[in-house]
C-alpha cells in the first residue's frame, strides 16, 4: 500500500494514499468538527465545518473530501479556520429554532455542541426563517424540518444503508429541504420506518417518537443486546431510565449490522410493556384463569407432571421449546425434558 507523509498541526504522520485529511487527523488523535460526515456513509462536503488550512491552497478546503498529498502541511485550528467555523455556525443558527430547553436532541445535538465549543451564542445575522409544519404523521419518527441543517445524512442513510432512496433534497436555495418524493409526510411516502435516518441525524430534525418527553440523552443507561426478532442478529442498545426500557438506539458498532436496523428492531420493542403482558402465574379453575403465587403454580405443575409420569410413563410428556428464547433457556428446557421427565420428546418450531 502506498503511504503518504504529511504534517497536521505540526505532527508528522504517515497514512495510506487516498485517506482524507479528516481521517488522517483522526488517526493522529486530532478531532476535526463535522456535521455532515459519517464514517459509514459516503463523504459529502456539505456542512463545511470541517474546513482546515492547507499550505499553498487558496481557500479553506473541507477536510472530509480532501485527500492527503505528500508533504501537505495542514492546520486544523488556525485563526482563519476558527473564524470560518464560527461564521458557519452563525449561518446555521440564523435559521434554527433555539427551543433547546424542550428539544428532544438536547444533550446529543452536534450543532449545540459545536456552538458551545466555538462560543457561538447567537447569530449576528438576521434574516428570513422557516416555519415548516412538523411531520408527526406516524408512530415512529418525528420530523421537524425547521431543525434540519441540510447535512444530507438522512438522505445518504436512506440510499446507502437501507437502499430505499425515499429522501432527497427538494426545492432550491433558502427553500432547500431534505424530504420525501413530492414532499409528502413520511406516512404517505415509501418510507419503511427503519429509522436509520434518525440514527445519523445530528440535530433535532429527526427523533424517535416513542422517546418524546421520556428521557434526556444523559439520563439514558444504554444496555447493548441482540435483537429478538429475525435471525440476522443485529445489535442495538436498549435505553433504560428508572428501570424501564424507553427506546432503542444504534451506533456504528453492531457486529453484523453496524448501525442499520429495521422497523421491528428499532421500534417494535414496546411489546415489552403491552397491557396484556402476563405478570403473574395463572391457574385454571372451573374453566377460568385465576392469579396464583409462583410457589403454588410450580408445586401444582410438579405434582401433576410427576403423577402423569408415574401413571403413563415418561413418553406421555412432551415439551416445546422456543426459537425466540435464549440458548440458556433452550438448554435448560431440553435438560429438564431429558433429565427430569426422562423423555426425548422435546422440539421447537425450527421449521417455521
Amino acid at each position: 500500500m502506498e503511504m503518504v507523509k504529511l504534517s497536521i498541526d505540526g505532527k508528522e504522520i504517515e497514512v495510506p494514499a487516498g485517506t482524507t485529511v479528516l481521517n488522517a487527523a483522526e488517526q493522529a488523535g486530532i478531532h476535526i468538527p463535522r456535521l455532515c460526515y459519517e464514517p459509514d456513509l459516503s463523504p459529502f462536503g456539505a456542512c463545511r465545518l470541517c474546513v482546515v488550512e492547507i499550505k499553498g491552497m487558496r481557500n479553506l478546503p473541507a477536510s472530509c473530501v480532501t485527500a492527503v498529498a505528500p508533504g501537505m502541511v495542514v492546520q486544523t485550528r488556525s485563526p482563519a479556520v476558527i473564524e470560518a467555523r464560527r461564521t458557519i455556525l452563525e449561518l446555521l443558527i440564523a435559521n434554527h429554532p433555539q427551543d433547546c430547553l424542550t428539544c428532544e436532541k438536547m444533550g446529543a445535538c452536534k450543532l449545540a455542541q459545536y456552538c458551545y465549543e466555538y462560543g457561538v451564542k447567537q447569530s449576528s445575522l438576521q434574516g428570513e426563517r422557516h416555519n415548516y409544519a412538523v411531520d408527526d404523521s406516524n408512530p415512529f419518527i418525528v420530523r421537524d424540518p425547521n431543525k434540519c441543517i441540510l447535512c444530507g445524512k438522512c438522505i445518504r442513510a436512506c440510499a446507502e444503508i437501507t437502499g430505499k432512496n425515499n429522501l432527497d433534497f427538494a426545492y432550491r436555495g433558502f427553500d432547500t429541504k431534505a424530504t420525501t418524493f413530492y414532499d409528502v409526510p413520511f406516512v404517505e411516502s415509501d418510507c419503511v420506518f427503519c429509522g436509520n435516518c434518525v440514527s445519523v441525524c445530528p440535530t433535532g430534525a429527526l427523533t424517535e417518537k416513542q422517546m418524546q418527553g421520556k428521557v434526556r440523552h444523559w439520563e439514558c443507561q444504554k444496555v447493548r443486546t441482540t435483537c429478538p426478532f429475525c435471525g440476522t442478529g443485529c445489535n442495538f442498545d436498549l435505553c433504560v431510565k428508572d428501570g424501564k426500557v424507553v427506546g432503542v438506539v444504534s451506533g456504528p458498532e453492531g457486529a453484523v449490522n453496524g448501525r442499520a436496523l429495521c422497523i421491528k428492531g428499532r421500534f417494535g420493542w414496546d411489546f415489552i410493556y403491552n397491557d396484556r403482558r402476563l405478570t403473574t402465574p395463572l391457574i385454571k379453575r372451573d374453566g377460568k384463569f385465576e392469579p396464583a403465587s409462583w410457589d403454588d403454580a410450580l408445586v401444582l405443575i410438579a405434582d401433576r407432571l410427576s403423577e402423569i409420569k408415574a401413571k403413563y410413563g415418561p413418553d406421555a410428556f412432551a415439551s416445546l421449546s422456543s426459537a425466540r428464547c435464549t440458548n440458556e433457556e433452550n438448554y435448560l428446557v431440553q435438560k429438564f425434558t431429558r433429565a427430569v421427565m426422562g423423555t426425548n420428546n422435546v422440539d421447537h418450531c425450527a421449521r417455521t
Binding site: I161, V256, T280, W294, A302, R324, T326, D347
Partner: protein, 538 residues
C-alpha cells in the same frame, strides 16, 4: 437443515453475512429478504448496486426482484425441476467444476443421470421459466467465481423441502461454490434463535451440538454430567406430538414461548390435540391462543429482562443482556430451574453464564466460547477451544462429513394443488412490518398495520369483482378465514398470498397438513383455496 446435514454433514448456513459485500453473484431462491430479514436485504441491495449480479427466483414480484438482473417467476412447488434444469445445462455445457467434483464430492454419476432428463424445454414447461432465462442463469452461476446462494422458507416449507435443500447443495457442489468466502449455501434462519435452539438440543434426536441421543457414547457423557440415566430412543417432533395428543398418548405438555395454534399448519388439529391433554403448562409473555388451553400459565420474561445468548443465522453467538428486572419477577431459566428442583432434580445455577459454561463444556462446537470472549463482537461456531478465532465459513478444506454427497432428486409436486372446487393456490409468508406473532403486541406497529391483506392478482380481481379493501372469505378443505384484499401484481394470476401474523385472520387454519417426511415441516407455501367477497370496501 436435515438436507444440508445429509449433503455436507452440517445443517448450518455455510458462509457469513459480511461476505455479501464480496460476492459477485447473489442467487436468491425462496427468500423475500428485504421483508423477512431486512438488514441482510439492505446488504444485498447495496451489493447489487455496487455491481454484484442478482438473481431472484420467486413466484412473487418481491422488492429485490426490482433490482435483479434476472427475476425468474417460478411456479410454486417446482424448485427441484428448476435446479435440476440448471444442472442439466451446466453439465451439458461442461461448465461444472471438475476438480472440485472429483476431489471433494461423491455420487456424481447418479446426479448426472438424474438431471439428464431435466432438459431446458421440459423444465420450462414445469416451472414457467423461459428456456433462455434457464440458460442465462445456469451460465451466470456456473461462470461466476464468487456466487452465494440464499434461501429461506420458500424452499423448506414444502412436502419436498429436504429434497429442495439437497438440490441446492447439489448445484453449489457441482460448480465448486463451497468452502470459500463469498460462496456457499446459505439458509437464512427465520427466528432470532432458531440456530441456537437447534444447537442447544431442543430437538428430539440430539443433545446440544448435534450429539445424537441414540449414540451411547454421547448419552453416557450427558448421563455423567447430569447425574441421571437418559432415554436412548428418539423423541417426537412437533406434528407427531399433536398426533399423539389427539390419540390420547401424549398426556401432558410444557410449551415455552410458542404459539402453535397460530403458527403451525392445520391449526384445528393442534387445537383438538391441546384439548385432549390432561395437563398443559404454557410459559408465555401473553395470553396467546395456545395459552387459552393451559391448566397453568407461567408468565415469561422478555429478551430485555434476561441475560443470555442468541446464535444468529451465521452461527454467531452474541450476548443478550438484562436491561430491566423481569416483569413477572423471575427469568425463564430461573423458573425451569425451580421446577426441576420441585420435582426432585436440583439445578443450582447462579446466573445465565453458569448455564452457558455447563453447556459449552458438553458441546464441542461451543467449547471455546465464553461470555468474556463474546462481550463485544460474538463468535461464530465451530469454536472448539479458548484460543480458536471462530469460523466465518464452513467446509473450507473438506466437508464436515468428508466428501460432499450428491443426491439424485426427482420432482415431487405439492401435496395439494388447485382444482375446480378450490381453484386458487395459497402461499404464505412474512411482511416487513411484523414478526410472526409478537409484533402485533407493539402498539406503534399495530396501529399502522392492524390487519391482514390477502394479495390478489389484478386479472383474478377483475374476474371476481374485487377491489383493494374488500373483505373476502378464504376457504380451504380445512377451514376458513376472513381477510381484506389487496389487488397487486406482486402475485401471479391464480395465486393468493397471505401472511400469518394476525390472530383475527389466522391463515394457518387454511394451510395444508402435508409435511416433509424427513423434517415434518408443514407445506405452508402451497395449498388450494377458494376466495369469495363478503363485504365491499368502504
Amino acid at each position: 437443515m436435515a438436507g444440508l446435514a445429509t449433503s455436507f454433514g452440517s445443517g448450518a448456513m455455510t458462509n457469513s453475512i459480511s461476505e455479501i459485500a464480496q460476492a459477485e453473484l447473489l442467487f436468491l431462491i425462496g427468500t423475500n429478504t428485504t421483508e423477512a430479514h431486512p438488514v441482510i436485504g439492505y446488504k444485498m441491495r447495496q451489493a447489487a448496486r455496487k455491481g454484484a449480479k442478482l438473481t431472484v427466483v420467486d413466484p412473487r414480484r418481491i422488492e429485490l426482484a426490482e433490482e435483479a438482473d434476472y427475476w425468474l417467476r417460478i411456479r410454486p412447488g417446482t424448485d427441484i425441476p428448476f435446479l435440476n434444469g440448471l444442472m442439466n445445462i451446466i453439465i451439458a455445457e461442461n461448465l461444472y467444476d471438475r476438480v472440485f467434483v472429483e476431489e471433494r464430492t461423491e455420487n456424481f454419476a447418479a446426479l448426472k443421470e438424474t438431471v439428464e432428463k431435466y432438459t431446458p424445454g421440459y423444465v420450462s414447461g414445469l416451472t414457467g421459466i423461459p428456456v433462455e432465462d434457464l440458460y442465462a442463469v445456469a451460465r451466470l452461476y456456473a461462470g461466476t467465481d464468487k456466487a452465494m446462494i440464499f434461501y429461506t422458507l420458500g424452499i423448506t416449507e414444502h412436502v419436498c423441502g429436504t429434497n429442495n435443500v439437497m438440490s441446492i447443495a447439489n448445484l453449489a457442489m457441482l460448480t465448486g461454490h463451497m468452502g470459500r468466502p463469498g460462496t456457499g449455501v446459505n439458509p437464512i434462519r427465520g427466528q432470532n434463535n432458531v440456530q441456537g435452539a437447534c444447537d442447544m438440543g431442543a430437538l428430539p434426536n440430539v443433545f446440544s451440538g448435534y450429539q445424537r441421543v441414540i449414540d451411547p457414547v454421547a448419552r453416557e457423557k450427558f448421563e455423567q454430567a447430569w447425574g441421571v440415566s437418559l432415554p436412548g430412543e428418539i423423541g417426537l417432533m412437533i406434528p407427531e406430538m399433536f398426533d399423539r395428543a389427539n390419540a390420547g398418548e401424549v398426556k401432558a405438555m410444557y410449551i415455552l414461548g410458542e404459539n402453535p395454534v397460530l403458527t403451525d399448519p392445520n391449526s384445528n388439529h393442534i387445537r383438538s390435540g391441546l384439548e385432549k391433554l390432561e395437563f398443559l403448562v404454557v410459559h408465555e409473555l401473553f395470553l396467546t391462543e395456545t395459552a387459552e388451553y393451559a391448566d397453568v400459565i407461567l408468565p415469561a420474561a422478555s429478551f430485555a429482562e434476561t441475560d443470555g445468548t442468541f446464535t444468529n443465522t451465521e452461527r454467531r453467538v452474541q450476548r443478550v443482556r438484562k436491561a430491566v428486572e423481569p416483569l413477572p419477577g423471575k427469568t425463564n431459566w430461573q423458573v425451569i430451574m425451580a421446577l426441576g428442583e420441585k420435582m426432585g432434580y436440583p439445578m443450582s445455577y447462579g446466573s445465565a453464564e453458569e448455564i452457558f459454561k455447563e453447556m459449552a463444556s458438553l458441546t464441542p462446537s461451543y467449547g471455546g466460547i465464553s461470555y468474556a470472549r463474546i462481550d463485544e463482537k460474538g463468535l461464530q461456531w465451530p469454536c472448539p477451544t479458548a484460543d480458536h478465532p471462530g469460523t466465518p465459513y464452513l467446509h473450507a478444506n473438506s466437508f464436515v462429513r468428508g466428501r460432499g454427497l450428491f443426491q439424485s432428486i426427482e420432482h415431487i409436486p405439492p401435496a395439494e394443488m388447485p382444482d375446480q372446487e378450490y381453484p386458487f393456490l395459497l402461499s404464505t409468508g412474512r411482511i416487513l412490518y411484523h414478526y410472526n406473532v409478537t409484533t402485533p403486541y407493539s402498539a406503534a406497529i399495530k396501529s399502522m398495520w392492524p390487519e391482514e391483506y390477502a394479495e390478489v392478482n389484478p386479472e383474478d380481481a377483475a374476474r371476481l369483482g374485487f377491489v383493494t379493501g374488500d373483505t373476502a372469505r378464504v376457504t380451504s378443505r380445512r377451514g376458513e378465514v376472513t381477510a381484506k384484499v389487496r389487488v397487486t401484481d406482486r402475485v401471479p394470476p391464480g395465486m393468493i398470498w397471505m401472511s400469518f401474523h394476525y390472530g383475527e385472520s389466522p391463515t394457518n387454519v387454511l394451510t395444508s397438513a402435508a409435511l416433509d417426511p424427513v423434517t415434518k415441516t408443514g407445506e405452508y407455501k402451497v395449498c388450494a383455496i377458494k376466495i369469495e367477497k363478503i363485504r365491499e370496501a368502504v
